[in-house]
């Protein structure tokens, strides 16, 4: 019985001493623990601030991107509108070209005038539809050369320089399409 009592007391002593030790350790490290807690709170706050900053920055970047896109789209729309206007003017110029050749060659069959006009339109569309700049320039030159020839044929015939019934130089430029 005494042995059991002694054993129990020993355990109680052990628990007490462990508690004391723990208390002493807590007292001794209270400062460090407070500092640690404080540092952790500061680190959390810093992280939060950093994340908020990044988020604001991204919002700002997105807003800048949207503004840039809006400006680019607006410019692109204007360019497209101008393109359509130019195309309309080209078509009108080609109509004028047909009228001009018909006015000079009064007996020119409609089918020939149509073919000349249609070929000019074919060249215009070839120029319009290519994305390659160099090719576009080549097609443009081809179209300008063709239009110049038509006008030249019309002028020469009107001035009586040529007596041919058809604008031969123009027709020579029309190959198989």
């Amino acid at each position: 019985m005494n042995i059991l009592k002694k054993w129990v007391f020993n355990i109680i002593d052990l628990i007490h001493s462990a508690k004391d030790e723990n208390l002493k350790w807590q007292q001794a490290n209270q400062g460090s623990q407070t500092k640690l807690k404080h540092a952790r709170v500061l680190a959390e706050k810093a992280l939060e601030a950093e994340l908020k900053k990044k988020s604001v920055q991204l919002e700002h970047d997105i807003s800048l991107l949207k503004t840039k896109h809006d400006a680019e789209l607006s410019m692109f729309k204007t360019k497209c509108k101008q393109d359509i206007k130019d195309y309309k003017q080209y078509l009108a110029a080609l109509d004028q070209l047909k009228s001009s050749i018909q006015a000079s060659y009064t007996h020119l069959p409609e089918a020939v005038a149509f073919t000349i006009h249609h070929h000019a339109k074919y060249l215009l569309n070839k120029m319009w539809e290519t994305d390659d700049f160099e090719q576009k320039m080549q097609h443009e030159m081809q179209l300008i050369r063709f239009m110049t020839t038509v006008h030249e044929d019309a002028r020469l015939h009107l001035e009586g320089v040529t007596k041919e019934n058809l604008p031969e130089r123009t027709l020579n430029l029309i190959g198989p399409q």
């Binding site: 997105i62 359509i84 149509f114 249609h118």
Partner: protein, 92 residues
């Protein structure tokens, strides 16, 4: 946030495509109108040529050629109209 940025970029890409598409549609519409105008004019000239030789043609041939002209015009078939014009020219 990154996803939002990607979405903005995608939207820009599609809006650009959309503008391009409608622009091309407008151009094609102008071209179609112009083609129609000149095809009408060619078809009228064919009708006139045909009328000038009406008396020299059998009634059925005249009618057939007239119908061909109308059909090719409605179909906006340039090649067929030009061939028809040549055919009419060679008839006399």
């Amino acid at each position: 946030m990154q996803a939002k940025q990607d979405q903005v970029k995608r939207l820009f890409y599609f809006k650009t495509k959309q503008i391009k598409y409608f622009n091309e549609l407008n151009r094609k519409r102008l071209l179609k109108l112009n083609n129609r105008k000149h095809i009408q004019s060619l078809s009228r000239a064919i009708d006139k040529d045909l009328l000038s030789i009406k008396t020299k043609l059998p009634g059925t041939t005249y009618l057939q050629l007239q119908q061909d002209n109308a059909r090719y015009r409605d179909r906006q078939d340039i090649e067929a109209l030009l061939k028809l014009q040549q055919k009419i020219s060679s008839l006399v």
